[in-house]
């Protein structure tokens, strides 16, 4: 049992690997196959490669604003890998790494940030809610969805992910409160990356931890090392299993860091001390896990080379798919407003079409 063991009010935090990748918690080290461990590493590499590429594409004018995930690889991969097929993910907009694991290929995320609604039309069967840009608003929606699963007596949990800034929103309070009252099968995952654009975590709450807020809502909360993929995986898995079994919600605060800017439109050097960034670079989640795999005799130069080549290939293919995706038609911006198009939209569409066609003809 992990949940309940680490008291956030006492500053306790769950960790399996220390910053060097050494096991510090043998008792709770998950016993996973080599294939699964390599799978974690592979996903983290793909996430970072996809992220680096998106950033570059924005700088080259091939993508609009993009929110980099660098530094979040362990929390996103660890949490998404902990989910079962029937669970639903309610992500925040920085969650590219989690989406890939939940059946949303990279090119959908690229399409979204390029500016095409098709990027939120996820493949059938992907149990993922689209990105919510109004911060924290996915939280009560995820709770409502989870409540629905409970009413239908389905073994299904919702993983709701958000940042530290979102915990200041009323939606965080409402979601947590409703989940507690209805004992909804929801797991709240706060990816506390210390910064909401330029506003530090201390300006979001006077509470010592975010995890301790769960106490007031009547369910457990805990802090995990968010740069430790094994700790994240184990904690989220236990919380989801508990939720599906009727044990109610859990709040997990993952202690991590936004290693890049808030978005490509931001310049974090304006407000963030260089030393802080440097200190967190030493805690890089990928390096840490690589050290762990190396110590176990799993990681070798050749594995790295193969995985990185594969990641590059997947990302290049995603870029190709996103950039060659058919452009939406004029009708598409009207077509999905209602299930059936009302007369005033038919009229507006016809007028616009005539104007656009005239413009083209000229």
């Amino acid at each position: 049992m992990i949940i309940g063991k680490y008291d956030p009010l006492k500053g306790e935090r769950f960790q399996v690997l220390d910053e060097t990748g050494a096991v510090v918690n043998e008792e709770l080290e998950p016993q996973l196959t080599e294939e699964k461990l390599v799978g974690f590493y592979r996903q983290m590499l793909i996430s970072r490669t996809a992220d680096t590429k998106a950033f570059a594409m924005q700088r080259e004018g091939r993508m609009g604003t993009y929110p980099p995930l660098k530094g979040h690889e362990a929390v996103q991969v660890g949490s998404a890998m902990a989910m079962e097929a029937e669970d639903w993910l309610f992500p925040h907009y920085r969650d590219l790494g989690a989406l890939l694991i939940r059946g949303v290929p990279i090119h959908f995320v690229y399409l979204y940030w390029i500016g095409n609604e098709a990027g939120s039309r996820f493949p059938d069967g992907a149990r993922v809610f689209p990105f919510t840009v109004p911060v924290g608003s996915q939280i009560p929606i995820g709770v409502g969805h989870a409540l629905g699963a409970k009413l239908r007596k389905e073994k299904q949990a919702a993983l709701i992910s958000f940042g530290d800034g979102a915990t200041s929103e009323g939606d965080f309070h409402d979601g947590m409160n409703f989940a507690g009252v209805f004992n909804a099968p929801a797991v709240f995952l706060c990816q506390n990356n210390k910064w909401a654009i330029s506003v530090p975590r201390e300006r979001q709450t006077a509470a010592k931890t975010i995890a301790q807020k769960a106490v007031a809502y009547g369910f457990p909360g805990m802090q995990v090392d968010g740069n430790d993929v094994l700790a994240v995986f184990s904690a989220v898995k236990e919380a989801l299993d508990k939720a599906r079994a009727g044990g109610g919600p859990t709040l997990i605060e993952a202690d991590t860091y936004r290693m890049s800017d808030h978005t490509t439109a931001d310049d974090a050097s304006r407000y963030r001390p260089e030393e802080e960034v440097k200190a967190w670079e030493k805690k890089d989640p990928i390096v840490r896990f690589r050290n762990y795999l190396r110590a176990k005799g799993i990681w070798k130069e050749e594995l790295e080379k193969n995985l990185q080549e594969e990641a590059d290939k997947i990302v290049e293919e995603a870029v190709h798919q996103a950039e060659n995706f058919p452009l939406p038609e004029l009708e598409d911006i009207f077509r999905y407003t209602y299930k059936e198009m009302p007369p005033h939209l038919e009229e507006e569409l016809a007028e616009l079409k005539a104007a656009v066609e005239k413009r083209k003809a000229d």
Binding site: E117, A118, S120, R121, F122, F129, P130, T132, V133, P134, S137, I139, P140, I141, G142, V143, G144, H145, A146, L147, G148, A149, L151, R152, G170, D171, D174, G175, N177, F178, V181, D332, R335, Y336, T337, Y338, K339, E340, P342, P343, H344, L345
Partner: protein
């Protein structure tokens, strides 16, 4: 066929829809054992149980957010907001999610929910209980805004709203919640959304109205008759998207139009209706389109609220003005 008021008709519609479809849920504050502050959900808790009729924590934002999640998960939640004055907490979820989820997922996810709220002045309610802010909602693409004006309409329109594939804001004119009883068929019937109703035919002037103002228009029509003015009354029923065709057809016939609404004048739906008439029937007009509305002020508290609500006298004066143009 029982004689029902609007409260009872709303209740009957909810009961029929809940019996018909297990995915229909009723949620909100005091909707359970207490049966709602206006008793619109009375008896539903006993019949359908706490999993389908449930009280929530006191948070309209939480109600709306969870209702969106339930709707995405295949339910048809009917969420009650106790008074329109408290509905503003729901706006973020209504505008950012309920209204646009179908569009932003290219039709993959949808939000078939109903947000019910009593609205309007005239029952001597405390502050924040008497607003009529429907125009705020009539500019949110992706939702529908429906207002019944009678018990029979309340039943047929609410049943359609529950079955609608898109989110519906259903505003109930509380001034006439219990004012009139009329025969409401206890058989299955639906009134289509997006279609207005000609309440009374006439040839001289069209009054376009909805909700509690339909009763005012009917009263005025009798008085106008004494002055040899034959008034046609159109009840919009659905404010958004609006049945422009019905308005234009009527104005083409009468050549004169008057919009009566309780909401403030500036930026109100009366402006939208007048503009639509200008666009489509200007040359048929024999006089400018006028509006009788609430004032552009904060809705007064009970001691002075009657100054605010359009009444027969104000409507009659505008009719005379139009007829003598």
């Amino acid at each position: 066929m029982p004689a029902l008021n609007i409260v009872e008709a709303v209740r009957l519609a909810l009961r029929e829809e809940m019996r018909r479809d297990d995915s229909v849920l009723v949620m909100g504050e005091d909707v359970g054992k207490n049966g709602g502050v206006f008793r619109t959900t009375e008896g539903l808790f006993d019949e359908f149980g706490e999993e389908r009729v449930f009280d929530t924590p006191l948070s309209e934002n939480g109600i709306m957010g969870t209702a969106v999640g339930l709707a995405v998960n295949g339910f048809r939640p009917v969420a009650e907001i106790q008074f329109m004055g408290f509905i503003y907490y729901t706006l973020n979820h209504l505008i950012c999610h309920a209204a646009r989820l179908r569009n932003r997922t290219r039709g993959n996810l949808s939000v078939p929910l109903v947000l019910r709220a009593p609205y309007g002045a005239g029952i001597r309610a405390p502050e924040h209980h008497s607003e009529s802010t429907e125009a705020l909602f009539a500019q949110i693409p992706g939702i529908k805004v429906v207002v019944p004006s009678s018990p029979a309409d309340a039943k047929g329109l609410l049943k359609s709203a529950v079955r609608d594939p898109d989110p519906v804001v259903f505003l109930e004119p509380k001034k006439i919640y219990r004012a009139v009883k009329e025969e409401v068929p206890d058989i299955e019937y639906l009134i289509p959304l997006g279609k207005a109703k000609v309440v009374k035919e006439g040839k001289d002037l069209t009054i376009i109205c909805w909700g509690a103002m339909v009763k005012v228009a009917e009263e005025v029509a009798l008085k106008a008759q004494e002055e040899k003015v034959d008034v046609e009354i159109i009840d919009l029923r659905t404010l958004y998207p609006m049945d422009r065709e019905a308005v234009i057809n009527s104005v083409e016939k009468t050549g004169r139009a008057l919009v009566v609404h309780e909401a403030p004048k500036a930026g109100g739906l009366g402006a939208e209706i007048a503009a639509t008439i200008n666009e489509k029937a200007l040359l048929r007009l024999k006089a400018p389109v006028l509006r009788v509305t609430g004032q552009d002020i904060t809705v007064p508290m009970p001691k002075t609220e009657d100054y605010y609500i359009p009444d027969a006298e104000r409507v009659l004066r505008s009719i005379r003005k139009i007829m003598s143009f």
